[in-house]
């Protein structure tokens, strides 16, 4: 069995990069870690190769290896050959320092995910381009012309951008500039390592669309590395799946998505929330990825694989040919492929796991938390006389009304900077609104805090009832305290009658309950000794120990690995049922929002620049969005359908970049990006009005929801599409 990937693929294809038996390893105290384990791969000229894997699967190592840019102390071995369009093949590992310097960026360039910090903060963007051109002895003037073209193609105002410092630009802009910078020397191949990971949905989707355009315009070969399968589904020609530092499946994108032959790929697809797959078919992957020092023998996936047998435990599967161009490293690929396809397209007969609690109209019970015309304006905080800040008001939240009932679930969706976190914090009393009011069971929260008027519910009680789970499990636990001390804090504060042993017993019970075992071991750990999922469970327990009525979960799963997200969401939903809490979720991801809201029968509220533009039941929001912004979000949410080609032409937004929140547009705030905006949208501000579906089910703030409105007679706003 000495077949390699190369043998299996068709040699007649025009290969641009041949990787065989590439291995990256480095020494650790616990042994030698292999973070890329003898992988072989042919990259074909002119294709977009999608490489997907969870974090810790070695995908970034693969990207680094393609440029021979593995960071010390890692050592890259194996054979990597680059075949330029004209000229002799280049053996990467035998290049001299100078040759390698030229190979990088002139032949193969790279885009990283960390665009926020990819530019030298003290130099202008132009200098970055000039430096790069100079370093490779390119003509600077011609190069800058090319750079301007590229920036223009990426919908950036080239002159303004070139004269800016990095801190003056948003993350999305920097990411696009980085793409332009990577192309300025006209390389043949581009390696993109999670280029959109830190970006908003709309920006992500727009960049993906731009990548396709650029690829065809510049005859590029692209290796696109991501953890987000739906993102590459419509983009990639071929897909490769990495698991435990090896490729386990490779094939045309359509085949891999429609008929995955490896159980891991199937499980991964099934655990990826999207807008289409029926909920009952989604399930988490049990277990976690292996440690690079201690990769299981045989098939590295066998400890998590339901089909594993003795053969899997002992024999490392060689590639099996599934199809002409589709290979899988699984002994049982033929059985795996027999199963029902994980990507069911268009499952319409969905029923929510729980029924929608009820409209928040006048006939509803008293709301648990009620926000009335809430406004939060941030003034620049002073901080002594030495502060270097310009005072500036930013309206993070502007006139929002929302009611949250008992056992209710509301998911706030929106791009970063839209004020969803601020609104969430106002709802749980963590942030004082600058206008409007928040009340808990009819008692104004901040009046209770300030002891104003007749306080019917003391602030202490409100404080206990409203809790929060933060986005980043790393920073929500104090790194200097052990799990024991962290979890004892709420008990000490709220249950003074318990002594140390009682507290420990209770904590152990909770830990066991959420599946952290053995709990006795875990309570003595510091947060850095926990995995992301475990940290998030600890924060979940911490807030549950207060026995709260409403929990704000701020992007509580987005920091977790894809395969853990569904599991974590399920746990939260389950705890909600157990303990009769309400949840206010915040998410930038419509798929996750849909999963949460549909499973709990909750509502989705879409926010844009401090305002709620649409709110309603899952069914309505996902299937029949009224507001153009919601429609854009839905467009931007990738699904697993490989035929879903993305073109900038159908983009429902006119500009990619979100307006400056400190200076929001007049009228309807979305009019600057809305493809359906008309002149009237510039001046008049739409109110949230009931859509047809009956009270409470759906409300949208768009003139298009009115049948007779000046809108319909107004002139469309005509500007060049997508110019800033």
């Amino acid at each position: 069995m000495t077949m390699t990937t190369t043998d299996l693929t068709d040699r007649s294809e025009d290969v641009i990069m041949e990787v065989s038996n590439a291995r990256v390893s480095f020494g650790m105290e616990r042994g030698r870690a292999r973070v890329l384990n003898d992988v072989s791969m042919d990259v074909r000229r002119g294709e977009i190769l999608g490489v997907m894997g969870e974090s810790g699967s070695g995908k970034s190592m693969f990207a680094d290896a393609l440029l021979d840019a593995v960071v010390d102390p890692g050592v890259l071995q194996g054979e990597l050959t680059y075949y330029p369009g004209d000229g002799e093949p280049i053996d990467l590992l035998s290049l001299s320092e100078e040759e390698r310097r030229r190979y990088r960026w002139e032949d193969v360039a790279m885009v990283f995910q960390g665009a926020m910090s990819s530019f030298n903060p003290v130099r202008k963007i132009r200098t970055h381009f000039v430096d790069t051109l100079n370093a490779h002895d390119y003509d600077v003037d011609r190069g800058l012309e090319r750079a301007k073209d590229l920036l223009g193609d990426l919908y950036l105002d080239a002159d303004r951008v070139l004269d800016s410092y990095p801190h003056e630009l948003s993350g999305g802009m920097k990411q696009r500039i980085l793409i332009a910078l990577s192309l300025v020397l006209d390389p043949e191949m581009l390696v993109m390592d999670e280029p959109t990971a830190a970006l908003d949905l709309l920006m992500q989707r727009s960049i993906i669309a731009l990548i396709e355009e650029i690829q065809s315009k510049h005859d590029l070969t692209i290796v696109f590395i991501t953890h987000d399968i739906p993102l590459v589904a419509g983009l990639a020609d071929r897909l490769a799946v990495l698991y435990a530092f090896e490729f386990i499946e490779l094939g045309p994108a359509d085949d891999v998505l429609a008929e995955p032959a490896h159980p891991y790929t199937r499980a991964l697809l099934r655990t990826t929330p999207n807008l289409e797959t029926p909920l009952e078919e989604m399930r988490p992957i049990e277990g976690s990825s292996p440690d690079p020092v201690n990769i299981p023998s045989g098939c590295s996936y066998h400890p998590r694989c339901p089909m594993a047998d003795d053969q899997c435990r002992e024999v490392d599967p060689e590639p099996y040919r599934v199809d002409d161009d589709h290979i899988a490293h699984c002994h049982h690929w033929d059985e795996a492929i027999e199963e029902e396809s994980p990507v069911a397209v268009g499952g319409d007969d969905r029923t929510p796991t729980r029924a929608y609690v009820g409209p928040d109209g006048e006939d509803a019970e008293d709301p648990l938390v009620s926000l009335d015309d809430v406004e939060v304006h941030f003034e620049q905080k002073s901080g002594g006389l030495l502060s270097r800040a310009e005072p500036e008001t930013v309206a993070a939240v502007d006139g929002v009304d929302i009611d949250i009932h008992e056992n209710d679930t509301v998911v706030l969706v929106g791009e970063s900077g839209c004020g969803k976190t601020t609104l969430g914090k106002v709802a749980v009393g963590a942030q004082r609104p600058t206008g409007g009011s928040v009340s808990y069971r009819g008692q104004d929260v901040w009046d209770a805090k300030d002891m104003l008027g007749g306080v019917s519910i003391p602030f202490e009680e409100i404080r206990r009832a409203l809790q929060i789970i933060h986005q980043d499990p790393g920073s929500s636990l104090n790194s200097h305290r052990r799990v024991r001390a962290i979890l004892e804090t709420p008990l000490r504060r709220w249950f003074p009658e318990l002594d140390g042993n009682d507290r420990i017993q209770r904590i152990l019970g909770m830990l066991e309950y959420v599946g952290i075992s053995p709990p006795e071991d875990y309570i003595e750990r510091y947060p850095h000794q926990l995995s992301g999922g475990e940290k998030q469970r600890i924060t979940l327990i911490r807030s549950m120990l207060m026995d709260p009525e409403l929990i704000l979960a701020d992007e509580a799963v987005s920091a977790l690995d894809v395969s853990l997200r569904v599991e974590m969401m399920d746990l939260m939903i389950e705890l909600q049922e157990q303990f009769d809490t309400s949840f206010l979720f915040i998410s930038h991801n419509l798929s996750n929002a849909r999963y949460l809201a549909e499973k709990t029968g909750g509502r989705i509220a879409v926010m844009y620049l401090g305002e709620i533009v649409e709110i309603g039941t899952v069914d309505r929001i996902i299937n029949d969005p009224q507001h153009p912004y919601t429609q854009a979000l839905k467009w931007a949410t990738p699904d697993l359908d490989p035929d879903d080609e993305i073109e900038t032409a159908d983009s429902p937004i006119r500009t990619i970049d979100i307006p400056d929140p400190s200076n929001p547009p007049s009228g309807c705030r979305y009019h600057t990006r809305c493809a359906k905006a008309r002149e009237v949208c510039r001046v008049e501000t739409p109110e949230l009005i009931e859509a047809d579906e009956g009270p409470g089910h759906q409300r949208a703030a768009c003139f298009r929801a009115y049948d007779d409105h000046a809108y319909w007679n107004s002139e469309p706003i005509v500007e060049g599409p997508s110019e800033e």
């Binding site: 616990r30 976690s288 440690d291 963590a430 420990i504 209770r506 019970g509 510091y526 850095h528 746990l571």
Partner: protein, 364 residues
């Protein structure tokens, strides 16, 4: 990063099968029935000794274990221990020296009677050095403590409270940062004429706390926005407790390092002021020795050079000792290092704390 966390697989049953009969099936304890993990109480009482044991383990045993493994702290602690010895045991055993005890200008290391030689008045420099140590250490300790307490208080409160409180406290801090320390202290010493070592220490600290306060403030500003602080606020943890338990531990390395550095600053300025003759002489100390030597012309008299050198070495010695301790203290407060020395979690702490590999893991 999953690679960091191989050791913690989620349990086999992740509580997913909730709505059925598992733990979830037991009645919720809203009516007094004991059922959910919420309502568990223990059947064994926690003894006072359990608590003390934990405290001793966390605050004494572990720091010592960690420090023992670092040469800098060993050398630094030894140096400081020598000075402490001089300030206590030796002060009681070595006779104080008087004018005319011995001949003029005995050179150091010539006789056992005067190991460090004598000065113009025939005083034994060794005895003088030893008897200087006590007051100097007192001065140092009081000054350093005052600096750190003031700096931490101003920084912590200004940074955490923000708003008006911050404006007032920060403005005071800024004024003190702008006033050059030594001249201020000189003027104050002339007016107050402090003689007791503790008051000298505190006086000197007046000029030293502001820089620390500003640095701590900016660190608190960063920590204040961390989620765990907000979580603690949401749990209604009282502000003093929040500041001390949640925020202060993060500042401790910085504060401790500054405590040690403040001690050095205090000594430096104290000796300088005694040398300049600004502070009134009460007891003998190294600065006074320098001053006397200088005025006796030790600078241009080769036979008197050791009179200057002895106090200089004394100052430089303790300064190096403190510096080494400051450098090694950082490790003591690092939870990653601590966890490795804890009795639990030691075996499976394989998070790759080796410097190279953590870098590497970021790439994976």
């Amino acid at each position: 990063m999953t690679a960091d966390s191989h050791d913690c697989e989620p349990g086999p049953d992740d509580g997913e099968s909730a709505d059925d009969d598992g733990v979830g099936g037991i009645l919720r304890g809203d009516g007094g029935q004991v059922g959910t993990p919420f309502d568990t109480t223990a059947d064994v009482r926690e003894t006072r000794w359990d608590r003390y044991g934990r405290a001793i383990d966390g605050y004494i045993r572990m720091p010592l274990t960690i420090m023992r493994q670092d040469w800098r702290s060993i050398v630094g602690l030894s140096i400081v221990a020598v000075y402490l010895l001089m300030g206590t045991v030796l002060t009681w055993t070595v006779e104080p020296t008087r004018t005319g005890d011995g001949p003029q200008f005995v050179q150091p290391f010539e006789t056992w009677e005067y190991p460090l030689g004598t000065n113009e008045m025939g005083q034994d420099l060794f005895a003088q050095t030893v008897h200087s140590t006590g007051p100097v250490l007192t001065m140092m300790a009081s000054g350093a403590l005052f600096t750190v307490v003031m700096g931490t208080f101003f920084g912590l409160v200004a940074g955490y409270k923000g708003g008006e409180v911050d404006t007032v406290l920060s403005s005071i801090t800024d004024v003190f940062i702008n006033i050059p320390g030594l001249p201020l202290v000189i003027v104050l010493s002339v007016l107050f004429e402090p003689t007791h070592p503790i008051s000298v220490g505190i006086l000197l600290a007046v000029a030293a706390w502001a820089g620390l306060a500003r640095a701590i403030r900016s660190q608190v500003l960063a920590i204040r926005d961390e989620s765990f602080v907000e979580a603690a606020r949401m749990m209604d943890v009282p502000t003093p407790e929040l500041l001390i338990k949640e925020i202060l531990p993060h500042l401790m390395p910085y504060i401790m390092v500054n405590l040690v550095n403040a001690a050095r600053t205090i000594i430096f300025s104290a000796v300088a002021l005694y040398y300049l003759g600004v502070l009134p002489f009460a007891d003998a100390n190294w600065g006074v020795m320098l001053n006397q030597a200088y005025h006796a012309g030790a600078i241009y008299r080769p036979d008197a050079t050791h009179w200057l050198v002895v106090p200089m070495v004394a100052i430089a010695g303790i300064s190096i000792g403190l510096l080494l301790i400051a450098q090694s203290l950082d490790r003591v407060f690092n939870p990653r290092v601590r966890a490795r020395h804890a009795d639990t979690g030691d075996a499976e702490d394989g998070d790759g704390t080796e410097p190279g590999s953590t870098e590497m893991m970021k790439q994976v």
